[in-house]
């Protein structure tokens, strides 16, 4: 009888295929290229909250699957999306991260072609030279991108063939989001980006598993010790989305201000709601305030994290100050937790790239939030969309 192989990060673990990962899925450029096509461009991706575009002609630039997109509030008050690409010679049309269209039009700075908020061409400079071709103002326009919204959350999808947003989210995930997203008129008060040296999925995993909460002093002290918190389960929904059963947090255990007052509509005092949408979005509500995370993967080893903080539109000054304070305590660029998550995933990436870490274990079986079932569920959906197996992706060059 042979002894089991030593679990040292390099030997393939003797576990069911669903319970470990070949770390090449984090480090292989060909796998990342396949993900861009089959996941990042082929699913509905959160890009902003509608409060970021409050008025007609307001715009915002976002990046999805490596492509820059203009989101704007058009003349009808709807949110529209277009590639930020002049159909003439490919220059970027808008160049500031956000703003307001001048006189409701976008003018390419290179040769001064201009477009209205519906993407229709308003002007081709000195058009006489195009006589004799099919080029005309009427036949020219910006390439639209699918955009849909739910509970004020704006999503785009680069694939024209996949079903709509509601079908992608599914009834269970939508119901899980309903409180607080469907019960209040929310607005964004915080936005920041941070670029880090790790594969995008490693950061997703920090949101999808509770075991790493042992990393955080805050969670060790206020949450992990709470009975109700320890008992709650991950709930698996269609298409890789998950949510956590609701629980209360003992903020007072860490000399933190209680979150019993000024809770968001529908939220319980000191309540906690987490909904993670496949492939890369987290909605996290700690009673009085919401954090939204989404990712802009740049390469297999470089990622931008975008974080938003949300409160209720029309908050009094005092309540808004409280929400900002609660947001900043845990999250945000000066919060006590986010810096720890980012450092952890970057050290993982360092070892995975060097080859000293070849396999990762996702084998925890338990009832509470520290179960790895949430990760196994994630990689089942990842496998469905990429056609690869996370425990053995094989030679990807032949498939992408």
């Amino acid at each position: 009888m042979s002894l089991p192989l030593r679990l040292d990060g390099q030997n393939r673990p003797e576990l069911p295929a669903t319970h470990y990962i070949d770390n090449r899925i984090y480090t292989d450029a060909a796998i990342f290229a396949l993900e861009q096509k089959s996941i990042l461009a082929a699913t509905w991706r959160f890009v902003c909250h509608e409060s970021e575009l409050p008025n007609v002609s307001d715009y915002r630039l976002v990046t999805v699957a490596g492509k820059e997109i203009i989101l704007l509030r058009d003349e009808s008050g709807s949110i529209a999306a277009f590639y930020n690409n002049c159909p003439h010679r490919g220059a970027r049309i808008l160049r500031h991260p956000a703003g307001k269209l001048e006189e409701g039009r976008m003018t390419c700075f290179y040769h001064l072609w201009s477009f209205d908020s519906g993407g229709h061409c308003l002007n081709i400079s000195q058009p006489g030279a195009y006589q004799g071709t099919d080029i005309s103002r009427q036949q020219t326009g910006l390439k639209p991108v699918r955009v849909e919204m739910i509970f004020g959350l704006v999503f785009v999808c680069l694939d024209d063939q996949v079903p709509g947003l509601e079908e992608f989210l599914g009834e269970e995930a939508i119901n899980a989001m309903r409180i607080p997203f469907g019960s209040a008129n929310l607005e964004v008060f915080h936005f920041h980006r941070v670029e880090f040296n790790a594969n995008w999925k490693l950061f997703v995993e920090t949101n999808n598993e509770g075991y790493h909460e042992l990393l955080h002093l805050l969670n060790r002290t206020t949450a992990v010790a709470e009975q109700e918190y320890r008992r709650r389960k991950w709930l698996m929904h269609d298409n890789g989305h998950i949510s956590l059963e609701h629980a209360k947090i003992g903020y007072g255990n860490l000399k933190y201000e209680s979150r019993e007052e000024d809770t968001l509509p529908g939220m319980e005092p000191n309540g906690h709601v987490v909904v993670n949408l496949f492939p890369d979005m987290m909605l996290n509500c700690r009673s009085t305030v919401i954090r939204l995370d989404s990712l802009v993967p740049l390469s297999e080893s470089r990622t931008v994290l975008e974080c938003r903080g949300l409160g209720v539109a029309g908050d009094s000054e005092a309540v808004r100050r409280k929400r900002v304070r609660h947001h900043n305590q845990v999250w945000g660029p000066t919060g006590v937790n986010l810096a720890e998550d980012l450092w952890a995933v970057q050290t993982q990436m360092q070892n995975m790239r060097s080859g000293t870490s070849r396999f990762s274990i996702i084998a925890r079986e338990e009832e509470g939030p520290m179960s790895d079932q949430s990760l196994r569920n994630y990689y089942a959906e990842w496998a469905r969309l990429t056609g690869l197996q996370a425990h053995d992706p094989g030679l990807v060059e032949n498939r992408s």
């Binding site: 500031h96 956000a98 964004v188 920041h192 900002v324 660029p333 006590v336 810096a339 720890e340 980012l342």
Partner: protein, 154 residues
């Protein structure tokens, strides 16, 4: 008094920078009055508004720094170097206001250095006896995308 105060304020601003470089947070906090406030703010063009990234009383900041060793913060294990340029010193009786531009470099454990952040310290000082104390420091960051996040004062 005014010239003496001017020199004292400049000395204190330089000392604050040195304390932060050396991670001497007890020294840094000693520059603040009891009811002082510390803020980090950033203008977000995406939201067309000023955001507050940190707002702490001296006591809250002290508690966070006391717990620093129980956290896993990359920035706490690196070295920093501040270059400052004191731009404005306005003294009016027992209150003064200073504005100081800064550039902060970080040096990784492996030895390479890079720019961490640029911005301004907007300070309000009050005179306690013969000594000026920080009543309010607002760190106005120009850098919106930090290369490493900072739960510590900047």
């Amino acid at each position: 008094m005014s010239m003496e105060s001017h020199f004292q304020l400049e000395r204190l601003i330089h000392r604050a920078a040195r304390y932060l470089d050396e991670q001497d947070y007890a020294g840094f906090l000693s520059l603040f009055s009891e009811n002082a406030e510390y803020l980090i703010t950033v203008r977000a063009p995406e939201l067309e508004q000023k955001m507050t990234w940190m707002q702490q009383s001296r006591t809250e900041l002290g508690e966070r720094l006391e717990a620093m060793d129980k956290h896993e913060w990359e920035i706490a294990r690196e070295e920093q170097s501040r270059l400052i340029s004191i731009d404005i010193v306005e003294i009016s009786g027992e209150i003064s206001r200073t504005s100081t531009n800064f550039v902060i470099y970080r040096t990784h454990n492996e030895g390479q250095s890079e720019c961490f952040a640029v911005g301004r310290y907007e300070d309000e000082w009050c005179l306690h006896g013969e000594n000026w104390q920080l009543q309010r420091r607002e760190v106005v960051l120009k850098t919106r995308q930090l290369p490493v996040l900072s739960p510590l004062p900047i």
